[in-house]
Amino acid sequence: MNYLIKPASPSYKRRRRTRDIMKELLIGLYVLAVYAVGFQLFVFGWQRALRVLAIFVLATLTSLATEVIWGRMHESDFQKIMEKQFPLITPIIYAFTLPATTPFYIVMLGAFLATFFGKLVYGGFGQNIFNPALVGRVIIHLSFPTAMKPTVMIDGMTSATPASALASANWFYNHGYVFNVMDIVKGTYGGAIVETCVIPIIIVAICLSIRQIYDLRLSLSFLGTVAVIALFMGLVMGVNPVTNMAIHLCLGGLIFGAFFMASDPVTTPTSPFGKILFGIGMGFMTMLIRTKANYPEGVLISILIFNMLVPLFDGITMGRTDRNLIRRYILLVAAVALATIIICIIVSGFEPVAAFSMIGGVLS
């Protein structure tokens, strides 16, 4: 027997490793991808389905090629890349956010940018500041605004997708909105690939969270904040609050974003309190962009903005996590309430400056 020395205890490790977690996440994503392709096949025909399949394959191949070339340059073999860099996750998530009509060269360019500028330049997996898939997605979104605008066919006419139609109405549902809520939930209108599989995403996310692949705290606080804000927004604006909430949750890839992009552990705070507060912040930012920026990509940009703020949120939760619990709960509730009030004030068109100047005018 030969004895080696181990500097620190313990010498006993849990079986599950990062590799296994990523494998299960990947299986979940592939199940979703198969569903998405099948859905396109049954609803829009085989040409569209092939197109979506091609988007997934092209994104994966481009991303893999980038990783392998980079790995060659840095003397890392294929096996090591697959085990340590997990190159298959990013392109799938990235491809899900694209509209089915995206030109192929843009798909490939985005996949390259996502892998290279989102992940590799920072030093690979675990070092990136931003969610890599979103980096690629946002760059091509800003570079090719017309090509990236998704369209859907309604009664033989090309029209804007439910998300962009709602975006041009500042994201609030009114009686002129032609789309049916149940069809939006089912995804039969099309749009971005993610918007066609809302229910399967929820099912897969529940399965993955039961397997403890990721922490649901962040995703649920993100979705919950958006739901609460949308509910009160509906009340303030006098539209059906429940319908407004459902539309806000289902459109713009929010559910996919909350479960698969925002909850990426690399770019989120580590403490449970930080995660929940982070989710609330992202929900608020999403609604702010949606209501004020006339823009369907609120989820993507709010996640990217909050990725930058991770050190700030880490700084809020210092020391032990079981201290000042009551104060922390109050803070969370207050954060949701404040976010709701701010968004409601904004959508109701109440202008503080005008109000102050009015008071000023009366006084003078």
């Binding site: 027997m1 181990k6 205890s9 997996f125 989120t268 580590t270 449970p272 995660k275 619990l325």
Partner: protein, 446 residues
Amino acid sequence: MGLLTGRIERHLISHKDITKDKPIIEMPAPDRIYIPLVCGMATDFDILVKAGDHVDIGTMIARRKSMDVPLYATVSGTVVGTEKRMHASRRPQNHIVIENDHKDTFVPIVDTSNVDECSREELFERMKLIGLMGMGGSGFPTYMKYTKTDNIDTILINGVECEPYITSDHVTMKLHTKALFDGLKLMMRIADAQNGIIAIKEGKVELQKILEREVFNHPNIDIAIVKDVYPMGWERHLIRTVTEKLYDKLPSEVGIIVNNATTAIALSYGLREGKPVTHRLVTVSGDIANPCNVHVRVGTPVHDILEYCDIHDEGDFYLISGGPMMGLSLRNDLFVISSYMNAITIKRVPEDESAPCMRCGYCTLHCPQNLQPVRIMNAEKLMDTDLLRKLDVESCINCGFCSFICPSRIEVTGYIQMAKRRLQIEARKQQTAQKRRESQKKEVKS
């Protein structure tokens, strides 16, 4: 399980079945016995014998200077002298070497007459004389817990043994049930406590049956069955689970004294028969072909035990004194068994290497002290002592849970230990600097 605090405890695959029901191997005392002059972390001992002296089992051979802890010879024979050799704490320490004459002559260490009638103070003095050290692995002098017993109302016997692989407490409790209850009753008398609780893990059906049969004869003793999770054997968590009481520093704040089950058994034998702790049941387990429980003389080198149990596996191993979660790995098998060592674990060296941290926060969710190990690790890498202090590193209990849970196989606990050491060195530096400043001031004044 809390929304903001995480889950704290978790079931581990415990591998206890491989040694639990195996017959105990009785190992004869070796020709030479080494008694380490170590008590927990302290090594300040007065040696009371010199080379050539004859000793019997129960002859006091050393006594600790600061706290009154005597050490007894565990074999009869001749003292050879002292020797510096590797100790289980990974530091070379002084050992008293005794040449065994295999006669096992015995002198009682305490007065064993009328144990049931004598006063509380008398019992306490006798307990002090036995020189018990916490036999769960800490090596803390047991009598120290009984010095202040004004508000104590409960004695909690810790028979949880939450580390994987170890079964020595389990087997000892099964074999010496009468002594366990007797020891607990003696402890209750010394502390003037009304209640006794014996805590064991769920799933130990046989042991539970034996204890439940016995508990009928003792109206003020209860058995608490706790969940099979790590770190249930940790004092604070056990008290939190069994009595739902929280305390700041010591369990005596809430009127509880916690003792290991084997300590209670040793106390019973010590007071009734005047025996020091001469034998010890040690679990030899891990990734080896024939794991077992061995009954050995205290002071036997581990090398002899492995020879006797015929443990010869091929390959690279970690040899760990104690359980795999908190035990230290040692370079060779020359260290000896002390009275508070309950296991030797031999783990095969894993082939895989660590992956980059993905900040998943599992360590934060599982830390029983609710620390944030991943952030401590990052602060330690930056050598940021202020941040380390803010993250409250010093309340870490070294349970090893963060390293265990880490899916990237990073030695988080190692980083935390380094951080603790960094803070200690920093504090010492500040102290010396202050002293220097004060002495300079004095010089200026004079």
